[in-house]
C-alpha cells in the first residue's frame, strides 16, 4: 500500500520545495562506492535466494528431471526444447492459459470498477457510514488469503453451506445439496467472488485516499457551471486518479494472473482440469506428477506471458523511482 501511498502524494501535486539542483549535485558525485556498499547485502541476498533458484528453474526446464533423478541426485538429462514443445502443443495447457486470462480480465474489471464505485460512494456518505465501510473493508483486507478461502469453502459447502440454505429459502428454488463446483461457470463465480471480495478493500481505500486529493473547489465549480456528476467524474476526477488507477489495475492483473490459493483451497487441494490456472497447473505437474522440468517450463512460460504487464508495471514504478 505505501507503494501507492507515495504515488498518492505525488498525484496530490505537492511539490517539495527543492533547492536549485546545484546544491545537491556535487555531493552526489563524490559518493561512488558507498551506495554500492549499502546495496550489497540486499543484492547478495536476492542473488542467492532468488537469483540462483531462478537460474536453476530455467535450467531445469531444458532437462528432464523426474522423481528418480530428484531422489538419487544424479544429474537430469538435457532434453533441449522438449518440455517447451510438449507444453506448447498440449491443448490442455492452452485451455489453462485462456482460462487464466479470462479469469484475470473478469476479476480485475469487477474489482477495479466496484472498488472505484465504493471509493466514490465513500465521498458521499455520512461520516459514520464511511467509518463503518472502512472498518468492514479493513477486516476483509486483513483476512489472510488462506483463511478467506477456507471460509468461502465452508460457506459454499453443498451439505452444510449457508449459501445453499439461504438460496433454498427463495420461493420455487431448490438449492438443497446444490454443488457449486459441478458447473464450472458457477464454480468460477464463487472463486471470482472470493477474489473480488478480497481485492475490493485495497482498491477502494487506496482510491479513496486518492480522491481526497481531488480539489473540492474544482468539483464544486464544475457543478455550479452545470456539469453533470458523470461529466465531473470523467473530466475532473478520473484524470486526477489516473496514475493511481493504472497502478492498482496493473497490480491486480499481476496478482489475479497468479491465482493459486483460492482455487486450490476451494477445490480441496486437487483442482479438477476445469479449475486449473497456470499457477496450480505448474504446481500440479511439478509436485503432483513429479514432472519437475515440465512444471518449470510452464513457470517460465507464465513469466514470459506476464512480461508485457510486468514491464509496464516496472516502467510506471521506475518513473516514480527516477523522479524522486
Amino acid at each position: 500500500m505505501p507503494v501507492v501511498e507515495s504515488t498518492t502524494r505525488r498525484t496530490g501535486g505537492s511539490t517539495p520545495h527543492r533547492a536549485p539542483g546545484r546544491a545537491t549535485r556535487p555531493r552526489r558525485r563524490q559518493t561512488s562506492g558507498l551506495p554500492w556498499l549499502l546495496s550489497l547485502p540486499a543484492l547478495l541476498l536476492l542473488a542467492g535466494i532468488l537469483g540462483y533458484p531462478l537460474v536453476r528453474m530455467v535450467e531445469l526446464s531444458f532437462q528432464n528431471m523426474r522423481l528418480r533423478e530428484l531422489i538419487s541426485g544424479r544429474p537430469a538429462p538435457w532434453v533441449g526444447l522438449d518440455n517447451y514443445t510438449k507444453v506448447l502443443s498440449d491443448t490442455d495447457f492452452w485451455a489453462v492459459v485462456w482460462r487464466t486470462v479470462a479469469f484475470t480480465v473478469v476479476a480485475v474489471i469487477f474489482t477495479v470498477v466496484v472498488g472505484l464505485g465504493i471509493a466514490l460512494l465513500m465521498r458521499r456518505v455520512a461520516r459514520g457510514v464511511r467509518l463503518f465501510m472502512i472498518v468492514a473493508m479493513m477486516f476483509v483486507w486483513a483476512m489472510p488469503q488462506l483463511v478467506a478461502a477456507q471460509a468461502f469453502r465452508w460457506i459454499t459447502d453443498s451439505d452444510f453451506g449457508v449459501v445453499n440454505y439461504v438460496i433454498d429459502k427463495l420461493p420455487g428454488v431448490d438449492y438443497q445439496n446444490h454443488s457449486w463446483f459441478v458447473n464450472p461457470w458457477q464454480g468460477w463465480s464463487v472463486i471470482t467472488t472470493l477474489v473480488v471480495w478480497a481485492g475490493i478493500p485495497f482498491i477502494a481505500i487506496t482510491l479513496n485516499a486518492g480522491l481526497t486529493q481531488v480539489p473540492k473547489e474544482l468539483v464544486e465549480a464544475a457543478t455550479v457551471d452545470g456539469a453533470s456528476p458523470w461529466q465531473t467524474l470523467r473530466s475532473i476526477t478520473l484524470p486526477i486518479l489516473k496514475p493511481l488507477l493504472i497502478i492498482v489495475t496493473t497490480l491486480s492483473v499481476i496478482w489475479d494472473f497468479g491465482l493459486f490459493t483460492q482455487n486450490w483451497v476451494l477445490r480441496d487441494g486437487h483442482p479438477e482440469p476445469q479449475y486449473q490456472t497456470l499457477a496450480t497447473y505448474s504446481y500440479t505437474q511439478a509436485f503432483g506428477q513429479s514432472r519437475y522440468s515440465l512444471g518449470s517450463a510452464i513457470s517460465v512460460i507464465t513469466v514470459l506471458l506476464m512480461l508485457g504487464v510486468m514491464a509496464f508495471y516496472i516502467r510506471q514504478m521506475f518513473k516514480i523511482g527516477e523522479v524522486d
Partner: protein
C-alpha cells in the same frame, strides 16, 4: 536547522486533512444521500458476512456446526472450538515458530532493505537504475516455481526443516517490497534537511541517525507491518521446506483436515486466532500512517 526548511510533509498533511473533511455536498438531493448511505451500509454488511459466518461457526458447538439447517446465531455459544484449536497438537508450537520466523524475517529485511533504500533514494550512482529494475522485477517472480531449486539449495547447506532457512527465504520474499517502500519514505524527506545539517557541521553518519532515521520512523512501522503480514500469511513455501513441528500457523490451518473430514468448528476458531495478529497490525498501521506523518513533520 529545523527552522531553515519548511517541511513538505507538514504542508501535505494539513492540506489533505482539510480536503478529507470536506465531503462534497453541493447539488445533492436528500434522497440521493439516503440512497448513498443505504448502499454503503448494505455493502459493508455484505463484505462482513463471510467474517461473521466464520465467527458464528467458531462459537457453535460441534452438533450445531454440522447441522443441515444452519443457524445464524450459536444457540449454545461455546469456547470449545478455540480450546480445541489451542490444545491441538502443534498449534502453539507452530504459532511460536510463526512469530520467530516472521520477526527474524522482518527485522533482517528492514536492516538490509533500509541500507539499499538509502542508496537508491539519496545517491545518484552508476548502476542505480539497474538495482531499481532488479528490485521491481524480482517482486513479480512466481515463488512457487522456485520451490524445488530453492529446496535443493537450502538442503545442501542443511537449512531445510529449520526456522533459519525459512526466515532467510521470507526475508528475501519481503525484501524487494521493503526496499521500494522505504525508498519512497526516504525520498519524502526533503533533501534540504540533509544539506542544512551537513552545512551545520553534522557528519554523514549524524545526518543518518538524527534526521533520516527518525523521519522514516513511521515508514519503518508501515513497512514492517506489511512485511509481517506477508511473512505471517505464507504457507506454500514453509509447507514444503519444513515438517509440521517447524511450520507456522497457516500451514497448520492448511493441514488441519483429518482423515475423518474437516473439523470446521476448530478450523474456524484456529483461523480467527491466526488472523488476530494481522488484524491488530492493520489497525496499528492505520493510526500510524496518519499520526506518524504529522508527528514526523512536527519533529522535522
Amino acid at each position: 536547522m529545523v527552522a531553515t526548511t519548511p517541511g513538505a510533509p507538514a504542508v501535505r498533511t494539513r492540506s489533505r486533512r482539510r480536503v478529507d473533511e470536506g465531503v462534497i455536498t453541493v447539488g445533492r438531493s436528500r434522497a440521493a444521500t439516503i440512497a448513498a448511505n443505504t448502499t454503503g451500509i448494505v455493502f459493508s454488511i455484505l463484505m462482513l458476512f463471510p467474517i461473521y459466518w466464520v465467527l458464528n461457526t467458531a462459537f457453535k458447538p460441534a452438533d450445531e456446526v454440522l447441522a443441515l439447517t444452519p443457524t445464524f446465531w450459536p444457540k449454545h455459544p461455546t469456547f470449545d472450538n478455540f480450546l480445541s484449536a489451542v490444545k491441538a497438537p502443534l498449534f502453539l508450537q507452530d504459532m511460536l515458530n510463526g512469530l520467530i520466523i516472521t520477526l527474524l524475517a522482518v527485522a533482517g529485511s528492514l536492516v538490509v532493505g533500509f541500507l539499499a533504500a538509502l542508496a537508491i533514494a539519496r545517491f545518484k550512482f552508476y548502476g542505480r537504475r539497474g538495482i531499481i529494475l532488479v528490485i521491481l522485477a524480482v517482486q513479480l517472480v512466481p515463488f512457487i516455481a522456485l520451490l524445488i531449486p530453492l529446496f535443493l539449495m537450502l538442503q545442501s547447506v542443511s537449512l531445510t526443516n529449520s526456522l533459519i532457512g525459512v526466515s532467510i527465504t521470507y526475508l528475501v520474499l519481503i525484501l524487494p517490497y521493503t526496499v521500494w517502500t522505504l525508498r519512497g519514505f526516504i525520498s519524502g524527506i526533503p533533501r534540504e534537511l540533509d544539506e542544512a545539517a551537513l552545512i551545520d557541521g553534522c557528519s554523514r553518519g549524524q545526518v543518518f541517525w538524527r534526521i533520516i532515521l527518525p523521519l522514516t520512523g513511521p515508514g519503518l512501522v508501515a513497512t514492517s507491518v506489511f512485511g509481517f503480514i506477508q511473512a505471517w500469511n505464507e504457507f506454500i513455501i514453509i509447507n514444503t521446506l519444513n515438517s509440521p513441528e517447524k511450520q507456522n500457523l497457516m500451514a497448520w490451518l492448511l493441514q488441519n483436515q483429518t482423515t475423518r473430514g474437516t473439523a470446521w468448528g476448530p478450523l474456524m476458531a484456529g483461523a480467527i486466532i491466526t488472523s488476530i495478529p494481522v488484524v491488530i497490525f492493520f489497525l496499528i498501521i492505520q493510526r500510524n500512517i496518519a499520526t506518524g506523518l504529522t508527528a514526523g513533520a512536527v519533529k522535522g
